[in-house]
């Protein structure tokens, strides 16, 4: 595989990884208020995504892949709300450990990285077409 096609492939793996990350962020945001459905139940636990770099045997470049989607082990928020179905005997409800601000920052970063990968794809395509243009008789 020639180097320019390889860079298209690598950038595409970057796009895939970042969109996976965006999916996890949207899951977290959608479930930012999801409590349990019986007294004292654990609510939704925030998910985190980790990337890993792997050598691609075909193109010789370093692709990126999602290595794991883990659960964030940090503590849940507690709120006093005795009327809730998930409230324990003291009237406290466990709310998900999702911080909307952090998720927003994560989303913006994923967006930026996605744009950078798109830019690489655009450029690799331009370089290929410049080379092909050499064969055109002007």
């Amino acid at each position: 595989m020639d180097a320019l096609t390889a860079s298209l492939r690598i950038a595409a793996s970057g796009l895939g990884a970042q969109s996976e990350r965006l999916r996890v962020v949207s899951e977290n945001l959608a479930n930012a208020q999801s409590t349990g459905n019986f007294p004292g139940a654990d609510p939704y636990r925030r998910k985190t995504v980790t990337f890993v770099s792997e050598l691609d045997r075909i193109s010789g470049g370093s692709l990126v892949d999602v290595s794991a989607i883990d659960r964030d082990p940090s503590a849940f928020r507690l709120e006093f709300e005795p009327g809730n179905i998930a409230a324990d005997e003291n009237g406290y409800v466990k709310l998900p450990n999702v911080n909307v601000l952090i998720e927003m920052a994560d989303m913006t970063e994923a967006n930026r990285s996605y744009e950078a990968n798109l830019q690489v794809i655009r450029q690799a395509r331009d370089l290929i077409s410049m080379t092909i243009d050499l064969m055109r008789t002007s």
Partner: protein, 126 residues
């Protein structure tokens, strides 16, 4: 036959630029990977200075970078900026700057090849 072996030189430079583009693509794709060190290809002057002691691939399992026969070495770049907790050394601005350089050089390269090709054509057409 080759006039000042220009076409050979231009071909090697465009190969080198393509490998550099691959290195940039790898860096940009791994911009959020923990522990990833930014890579770059060796400078083109060094490639020119090296006289033909490139280890050839004798088996299909041998790897060259970007699977091109002209093996340009890529290595992790020196980094003396702030170390992030994730130990990632990719600076996205640097990568985009390098991408701009590659683009400029590639445009120049193809323009030169086209100009010389036109000259050769005008000679052969008479």
């Amino acid at each position: 036959m080759e006039p000042v072996n220009l076409f050979d030189l231009a071909m090697r430079q465009s190969q080198w630029l393509a490998v550099r583009q691959t290195a940039i693509a790898g860096n940009v794709a791994n911009v959020n990977t923990p522990g990833y060190l930014a890579r770059d290809v060796e400078p083109f002057e060094k490639v020119l200075d090296r006289t033909g002691t490139v280890p050839g691939s004798t088996q299909p399992g041998h790897m060259g970078f970007g699977a091109t026969e002209a093996s340009f070495r890529t290595q992790a770049q020196e980094y003396n900026g702030a170390i992030l907790p994730s130990k990632n050394t990719v600076v996205i601005e640097n990568e985009l700057m390098k991408a701009g350089e590659v683009r400029r050089a590639f445009e120049m390269n193809t323009a030169i090849v086209r100009a010389f090709h036109g000259m050769l054509l005008s000679v052969s057409k008479g």
